[in-house]
Amino acid sequence: MNILEAVLITIVTASTPLLIAAMGELVVERSGVLNLGVEGMMVMGSVSGFAAAYMTGSPWLGALAAIIVGAVFSLLFAFLTLTLVTNQVATGLALTLLGLGLSGMLGEPFVGHPGVRMDNIHIPGLSDLPLVGGLLFGEDPLFYISILLVIAVSWFLFKTRAGLTLRSVGDNHGSAHALGIPVIGIRYLAVMFGGACAGLAGAQLSLVYTPQWVENMTAGRGWIALALVVFASWRPWRVFAGAYLFGALTIAQLHVQAIDLNSLGFLPGPFYWLLAALKSVPTQFLSSLPYLATIVVLVLISRNRRLTMVNTPASLGRAFVPDR
């Protein structure tokens, strides 16, 4: 395995949780609900995934537990915003704050214990192919699930009747209701799907990315996933591109922090000097790059007001009380 291949594999691992969480939120927002609780659901997934895998020894049961916990946890948000029509922004924040607190408390006994790693898939022959072998056929299972998720969500939203119904609920809940579509029921299902995805994304962190439990281990990834949905103008394949862009950036800054300049003397001058310049930047500045990049990307994408208006689900974040 050469350096390039190793770097590419770490990029995939860093991008997968962003991709899974953002795909869930994309479906939620397409149904007209803005759930800012992604960070909270994700961290609940991390702790429950870790705990279940630790206690049973099976990372698969861990992932399953995280999916269930994420979906159940999101029901809190759904009940408040959909049944009691509370403010979605405030309730989403509440979900994040509760999730961070609850996961800290529940996870306390697990701090410092080595976790259970979900092993990479190995297909004899294919995984051993040079360069692309490990990259395409030797990844962790959640990578393949994340790709299937993009395909499935894309197909569901744009090729099925149910997907069309979900989008209509998000674009005009009044008309959808008048046509007899169960707006609230569909939104409940969408929110739970988002919760399940966020839970699984959280489990990826505690089972694949760094198999351990650390308080607040999501470190803002739930918020970056939210930004990715806006960045992707609510389109699944653009979320995919965005997630990999951010994954690459995260890994690039980590590698710059870790490189040993002395071993890179063979590089052509300009490259060497570029790396040397980056290396001289304090690590804290490099670590803040993903967050700054999120802001820059949001600015670029929302600058064009008309384009944003066209793409945003028209009922996004608006409360709906059926008039019977």
Binding site: L36, L76, L80, T83, L84, V85, T86, N87, V89, A90, T91, L93, A94, L97, L98, G99, L100, G101, L102, G104, M105, E108, A219, G220, W223, L226, A227, V230, P282, Q284, F285, S287, S288, Y291, L292, T294, I295, L298, V299, S302, R303, R305, T308, V321
Partner: protein, 367 residues
């Protein structure tokens, strides 16, 4: 099968406006007791240790004021933001930047110890917080950028910046390589109110004064009217000739300045130096304070004391009965949920419909 149905009230209920925070508190206590029972503790003892024992001695009341001061300061500013429909959730970052800006003089010019030192520190802290809050505000006005995400991202950036400052350029050369600045001189420390009995400092007075000023601003001035109109209906605000853009900047900078003041007050009065972590999440807990106080500055004073108590209770419970102090954050999160849920009662009547009753209604309609 039971269904919940909301029926809009003709006008909002004044009774439930007053009652909803209390309902929320009671529900939180009930669920808290259940939580303690699940953790295998006697709920009555645990609740006593959590919510009563931290208030039994005078120095403990001081501690309550120490914790409540930053919460009230920040929440009062957030109320202006939320009332005008600006979702600033980056107060933690504004607190951090305020603390750094306010520490410039005591760290870089420690030999200056004049009478203007403290006022300058406080002003610089407020300026630091306000300018940092102006970033998401300007991005929202100029580029239509979602302020929720940008203000939150800036929290991480501010915390990393603080980390760099205390490990890099501002590190105490005689500090045995610990990531911290030099200790502030006595002239740079915010005085305690009653040093004989406890630690409560002038920060608490700032908090009360800020709450009163913002209350006056919101209730009695045109600016306050503008905040409320733009918050409830931006369209109506435009017809009235109010500029939404300037309001975004105003709300963010007021709340940033107050968060910055909270930051430099905390550093000056309580920590006496900069270190990598200067706040146990005051900027986020203040969001809960703002909502529990129903976005009203006077209510926020009471709410700030309640949330401050939850911090103290967490510490007390950890010391006395070995419950993790992380339960405090669970309480805080639950509280916000219950506050939001109870607020529904202000605008709606809630009707529970069992399927039998629904069937009966259907039969009536068809007859």
């Amino acid at each position: 099968m039971m269904r919940i149905e909301l029926i809009k009230r003709p006008q909002h209920s004044a009774l439930f406006s007053a009652l909803s925070p209390i309902i929320a508190l009671v529900l939180t206590l009930v669920f808290g007791a259940i939580l303690f029972a699940l953790l295998g503790r006697n709920p009555v003892t645990a609740m006593y240790i959590y919510f009563v024992s931290p208030l039994t001695q005078v120095w403990q009341i001081h501690e309550l004021a120490v914790k409540a001061a930053p919460l009230i300061l920040i929440a009062v500013g957030l109320a202006v933001c939320y009332r005008s429909n600006n979702w600033n959730i980056g107060a933690e970052g504004q607190l951090t930047m305020g603390a750094i800006a306010g520490s410039i003089l005591p760290v870089l010019v420690p030999e200056y110890q004049g009478v203007f030192l403290l006022p300058l520190m406080l002003i610089m802290g407020m300026a630091g917080g306000a300018l940092y809050a102006a970033i998401p505000a300007l991005l929202k006005v100029r580029f239509n950028t979602n302020e929720i995400l940008s203000s939150l991202m800036l929290v991480y950036v501010a915390q990393l910046f603080l980390d760099w400052v205390v490990r890099g350029p501002w590190r105490d050369p005689q500090g045995y390589n610990f990531p911290q600045t030099i200790q502030f001189s006595d002239a740079a420390i915010l005085p305690e109110l009653f040093p004989a009995s406890g630690r409560a400092s002038w920060a608490f007075v700032f908090a009360i004064v800020a709450a009163l000023i913002v209350w006056f601003l919101m209730a009695k001035t045109l600016k306050g009217f503008e905040v409320k109109v733009i918050g409830q209906s931006p369209r109506a605000g435009r017809f009235a000739g109010f500029s939404t853009g300037r309001m975004v900047l105003f709300a963010f900078m007021v709340s940033g300045a107050l968060a910055g003041l909270a930051g430099i007050s905390e550093v000056s009065a309580t920590i006496n130096q900069l270190q990598p972590v200067i706040s146990p999440g005051y900027g986020f807990t203040a969001i809960i304070v703002a909502f529990l106080g129903r976005l009203n500055p006077i209510g926020i004073i009471a709410a700030g004391l309640v949330l401050a108590l939850s911090y103290l209770g967490g510490e007390a419970a950890q010391a006395a009965i070995g419950i993790s102090d992380k339960t405090a954050r669970v309480f805080q999160g639950m509280l916000l949920f219950f506050v939001l849920a109870s607020d529904t009662l202000i605008y709606y009547r809630i009707r529970l419909i069992t399927s039998r009753r629904a069937a009966g209604e259907a039969a009536l309609e068809h007859s």
